[in-house]
Amino acid sequence: MTTTTLTPTSVGLDRSRSGGSVFGALADIWAMTRRNLVHIAREPMQLSDVTIQPVLFTVLFVYIFGGAIALPGGGSYVNYLLAGILALNLVTSVMGTAVGLSTDLHEGMIDRFRTLPMWRSAVLVGRSMADLLTSLLCALIVGLTGLAVGWRPGANDISVLGGFALVIFFAYALTWIAACVGLNAKSPESAASFGFIVLFPLAFVSNAMVPTQHMPGWLQAVAEWNPVSAVCAGTRVLWGNPNPAGALHAWPMQHPIEASLIWSVVLIGLAAPLAAHFFRRRTTE
C-alpha cells in the first residue's frame, strides 16, 4: 500500500513448524492462554474478581461477621474463614470462563480461529489454562490478605500449599462445567446469570463462611454433601486451622480431602468431554 512492495515470488507459506504435532498443539494452547490473560487484564470487571474482590471479602467477613460467629469447639474465626474465602472467590470466578467462551462464540472471533490451521480445542484448553493462572493469582492475594488480617496456618509449608492446591484443583474442575454453560448460553449475559443462579448458592450453602451446625436440618444435609464444604473442610485440615465439620458424621465431612479430590476428578471427567462435544456441535454448520 505504501512503502513495502512484495516481490512476485513472495507467495508461499511462511510457516516454520509442521502442524498436527503435540508441540504445535501446546504452542496453540499457550498462544490462546496468553490471549485470554490479556483479556482479563484489560477487563476491569474480570480483573477485580481476582484482585479486589478477594481483599474486600476477606476484610468484610473478618471484621463484620468475625465477632458474631462462634465456632463449635472454639478457635479463631479468621483461621476458620480463610479457606472459605478462598473457595468463595475461586468458585465464583469461574463465571469468567462461561462469559468468555460465550463472548468468543458470539463475536465472530471463533470463525477466525476455525479458518486457522490450529488445534481447535486450544480455544477451550487455552481458556481453562488462563483461568487456572488467574486462580493462582487470586489464591496468592487471598493468602496475603489473610496473613495481614491475622490468619495463621498451623501446619507445615507443604501441607499449606496442599490446601491451596485442593481449592484450585476444584475450581479448575468447575471451569469445565462453566465451559459447558458458556458453550450453550444464548448470550454472554445469560452465561453471566449462571454465576448468580448456580455459583453463589453453591458457595454459600456450605461451610465456607459459617459452620453448618447452625443451619436447619435439611439445609445442613445439603451443605454437608455440597462439594464446596468438602473442599473447605479439606483445606482447613491441610492448613491446620479449626474444622468444626470434623465432628459431623456425613462421609465427605469425615474424609474431606478424599471427597474433594473425588468431586474434582469426577467433574473434570464428565464436564471436559462434554465441553468438547458442545464445542464441536456449536462450531459445526
Binding site: T2, T4, L6, L13, G19, T115, M118, E285
Partner: protein, 354 residues
C-alpha cells in the same frame, strides 16, 4: 503438500447448503484460475457468504464438492486451512487485543513461530498504514482500520489463496479506495482471490471474472466488461391500457430498444434495455401510438444491480432462470441500500444456528 500449483485454485461444483427453511446454496458452480480474482456479486442473502463459508471450511455443504488449491474442503479441512487467508465481513479480530497482538496471535496459531510472526506483523502494519495504531487496543479503531487489519490478518502467512468477504461493505469511499489498492497489490504477487461484494463497481474495479449469484444460484458468469455494458444501458418500462395479445406493441418497440422486449405475464407491462438518448420516450410513445396501442405509463429507469442481473440472464439463459432474475428485485433494492457492517444474510444465518 506438493509444490505443484493446480490450474484452478478454487473450485465449487454443485454446492448446496440449507439452513432450516432457507436454501442458502442451490447448486453453485464456479472456479478461479490461479493468480486471478473472481468477484462473487449478489445482493444480501444471495448465498455469497455461505459459499465462502463452505470453501473456507466453516460450513459443510449438503451436497457438491469444493476444492481449494486442489484439496477437498470436506475431506481435508485442516490441509485447506494451511493454504488460505480469510477476511470475513464480520469483525473477526479480538477487540481487546492491540492490532499487533491480533496479527501475532493469528501468525502463532498458524504455526509461524513467535519471532517470524512478530516480524511479519510489523511488515503488514506498515503496509496497511497502521504502524501508529499498532499498539492500540482494537476497540479504538475505525471501521476502515479494522478492515485493513483484517486483511493484514488474512495475509499473515502469505497464503496462496485469499477469501475476502465483502471487504468494503460499510466503509467510506476513502477507506474503500485504500482497501482496493491493497487488493490490487496482491494481484501482482500471484495470489488467487475470491472476493464477494454487493457492489458492481467494486467487482468491476478488481475482478478478472464476475459470478453473479442470487437465491443460491449462479445467474450469470462473465467478465466485468460484459457486466459494464449491461449496466450502461437504461431500462424502458411501458404499461399498456390493454394486454399486448397480438405482439403489436412489442413489435413497435423492438427497433428502438437494445435486446429483447420482455412482456409480463398479464401482457400489460413491457420492458427492455435501451441506450438512454434524448427524446427516447417520445419516440417510443409515437411508435406505439402509430401501431394503435394505448399507453398508460412510460418510464426510462437508470440501471440498477437488478437490471444487470436481468440483462445478463436475459442475454444468456432462457426460461426459469429469467423469472428468477426478475424475482430478485427486492433483494437487489436491499443490496443497493448497502452499508451496515453485518449483513442481513449473516444475521439470518446466525439466527438459524442459534
Amino acid at each position: 503438500m506438493a509444490a505443484e500449483i493446480p490450474e484452478l485454485m478454487i473450485q465449487a461444483e454443485g454446492l448446496t447448503k440449507r439452513y432450516g427453511e432457507t436454501q442458502a446454496l442451490a447448486g453453485v458452480d464456479f472456479s478461479v484460475p490461479a493468480g486471478t480474482i473472481l468477484g462473487l456479486l449478489g445482493p444480501n442473502g444471495a448465498g455469497k457468504t455461505t459459499a465462502v463459508r463452505v470453501l473456507t471450511t466453516l460450513a459443510l455443504p449438503d451436497s457438491g464438492r469444493g476444492t481449494v488449491a486442489g484439496i477437498d474442503v470436506v475431506k481435508h479441512p485442516g490441509e485447506v486451512r494451511r493454504h488460505i487467508g480469510v477476511a470475513a465481513q464480520d469483525a473477526t479480530l479480538d477487540p481487546l487485543l492491540t492490532g499487533r497482538q491480533n496479527l501475532v496471535l493469528v501468525g502463532e496459531l498458524s504455526d509461524m513461530g513467535r519471532a517470524p510472526a512478530r516480524a511479519r506483523a510489523t511488515e503488514l502494519l506498515a503496509q496497511f498504514e497502521l504502524t501508529d495504531a499498532a499498539d492500540r487496543v482494537l476497540k479504538g479503531y475505525s471501521g476502515g482500520m479494522r478492515r485493513r487489519l483484517d486483511l493484514g490478518a488474512a495475509l499473515m502467512t502469505r497464503p496462496p489463496v485469499l477469501f475476502l468477504d465483502e471487504p468494503t461493505t460499510g466503509l467510506d469511499p476513502t477507506s474503500r479506495q485504500r482497501v482496493w489498492e491493497a487488493i490490487r497489490e496482491l494481484l501482482g504477487e500471484g495470489v488467487t482471490v475470491l472476493l464477494t461484494t454487493q457492489y458492481l463497481e467494486e467487482a468491476d474495479a478488481l475482478a478478472h471474472r464476475i459470478v453473479v449469484v442470487d437465491h443460491g444460484k449462479v445467474i450469470a458468469n462473465g467478465t466485468p466488461t460484459e457486466l459494464k455494458e449491461a449496466s450502461r444501458s437504461a431500462r424502458l418500462e411501458v404499461s399498456l391500457a390493454a394486454p399486448d395479445t397480438d405482439g403489436r406493441a412489442a413489435g413497435a418497440m423492438a427497433p428502438l430498444v437494445s435486446g429483447r422486449v420482455h412482456v409480463s405475464e398479464d401482457g400489460r407491462r413491457l420492458s427492455a434495455g435501451v441506450d438512454a438518448a434524448p427524446g427516447l420516450a417520445t419516440a417510443v410513445v409515437r411508435a406505439l401510438d402509430a401501431a394503435g396501442v394505448l399507453v398508460d405509463n412510460i418510464e426510462v429507469r437508470q440501471p440498477s444491480l437488478d437490471d444487470v442481473f436481468f440483462s445478463l440472464t436475459g442475454g444468456h439463459i432462457e426460461g426459469e432462470d429469467e423469472d428468477e432474475a426478475i424475482g430478485s428485485a427486492g433483494g437487489a433494492a436491499a443490496a443497493s441500500a448497502g452499508g451496515g457492517g453485518k449483513s442481513a444474510e449473516r444475521q439470518e444465518l446466525e439466527g438459524v444456528r442459534a
